[in-house]
């Protein structure tokens, strides 16, 4: 490298590269890894979530520990609802029996953030056929036996006719709320799908909502689990940082005295000499 004049110049290049790695490559690398599932996706193969076992029996609201799979809620008044499963048409339906004038429908979905991270599913498709427009919210929920904590994952809305809505996630969309919830082993955990009347038309007694919920896995060969993408990124990132850290030391700096250029021993000798000098200086000071 004739254009390089001295060690200082080499060190400055390495230092610039290292800072660039932290400032640009670290965020960009994580962004790229996080985008892998979106980049690889073409179409999806869907698995229908259409019987009671797909739904969890757990608390609906914080402070009220009565447990339901499905319930309509008006304020803090909760009424259990019973959906009708239609395996043929795949349109399951629930009719609200709650007498409140502004009801919300709660579905405790038997899936956790950890399940989604460990799966190859990248999307959750919701189809609705309702007499009223709907606002849809999906929350991640943790119940520690006393307090119910929830983190919002998705919001959307559909018209008052047959409509489709999809929540498609990136790995960090799952990992970040999982970190926030900080679930202990003994805590219950599940997702909650909440339907509310959109606009001014609120859900009330007699309103019927037909629904289809399905998890979607990309139908290509290159499908990774969301958790796998993140752990792979972490392993490669951690090893790269470690190597760059070593490269920043006088003994292993690859651009100057590092072993890659056959100068490892020279670097170590110099380090030892420097250490010896310092030791002598300290002795003299004493």
């Amino acid at each position: 490298m004739a254009w390089l004049k001295n060690k200082k110049q080499l060190d400055n290049i390495l230092m610039g590269g290292a800072i660039l790695l932290l400032v640009v490559l670290l965020p960009v690398g994580i962004w790229a890894a996080n985008s892998v599932n979106g980049l690889l996706t073409s179409g999806y193969t869907y698995a229908q979530q259409e019987n009671t076992t797909a739904f969890y029996v757990g608390p609906i609201l914080d402070g009220l520990d009565a447990e339901y799979r499905f319930a309509s809620v008006n304020g803090t008044t909760i009424v259990e609802e019973t959906p009708v499963w239609d395996e043929v048409s795949e349109w399951d339906s629930v009719t609200i029996t709650h007498t409140g004038t502004d009801c919300s429908m709660y579905f405790n979905w038997n899936v956790t953030l950890a399940d989604l991270l460990a799966s190859r599913d990248y999307t959750f498709r919701m189809k609705f056929n309702s007499s009223k427009a709907l606002d849809v919210t999906i929350n991640a929920v943790k119940f520690d036996g006393v307090t119910l904590t929830s983190v919002e994952l998705f919001t959307g809305s559909v018209e008052n006719e047959s409509s489709e809505l999809s929540w498609t996630w990136k790995p960090m969309d799952l990992l970040e709320p999982k970190t926030t919830l900080n679930k202990e082993i003994t805590d219950e955990s599940y997702l909650q799908i909440i339907l509310e009347g959109g606009d001014t038309a609120k859900l009330t007694t007699g309103d019927t909502v037909q629904f289809q919920f399905a998890l979607g896995e990309p139908d290509n060969l290159y499908t990774f689990t969301s958790g796998g993408i993140l752990t792979t990124t972490a392993v490669f990132g951690g090893l790269s940082f470690f190597v760059l850290g070593m490269a920043s030391t006088s003994a292993w700096n690859p651009l100057t005295n590092g072993p890659l250029h056959g100068y490892g021993q020279k670097g170590l000798a110099r380090a030892r000499k420097s250490y010896g000098k310092n030791k002598n200086t300290r002795k003299r000071r004493k």
Binding site: D11, A18, L22, T179, L230, A234, G238, S240, F241, S248
Partner: protein, 104 residues
């Protein structure tokens, strides 16, 4: 003053101070620390903003909290080793009264 204005002023002072330090101190032992502070401030602010927009901060936090188990700890330890060596190099340079560099 509201929090946003105070935050904006702090960022302005940091960037301004960093830029001044970067361009006003090219050589010598004493300005060396200013140069390092300049580079660190500018890089830290740029990296911080980039991290917020790209989930990097959330990723590092999740790794530190053990959400990715061994892989996450490896990531955080690797990062800590690199930054630790840089800080160590900086301290060595400062104690030997020479311009501070991250790479020794």
């Amino acid at each position: 003053m509201d929090t946003l204005t105070i935050g904006f002023l702090i960022v302005t002072v940091l960037v301004g101070g960093g830029a001044f330090a970067l361009f006003s101190s090219r050589t010598g032992a004493a300005p060396g620390i200013l140069k390092t502070l300049g580079i660190s401030s500018a890089a830290g602010i740029l990296g911080g903003v980039a991290s917020i927009f790209t989930d990097a901060y959330a990723f590092i936090t999740a790794c530190a909290f053990g959400e990715l188990a061994f892989s996450g700890y490896l990531f955080v330890i690797g990062l800590a080793v690199m930054v630790g060596i840089w800080v160590w190099n900086g301290i060595q340079d400062y104690s030997k009264d020479r311009p501070i560099t991250f790479v020794d």
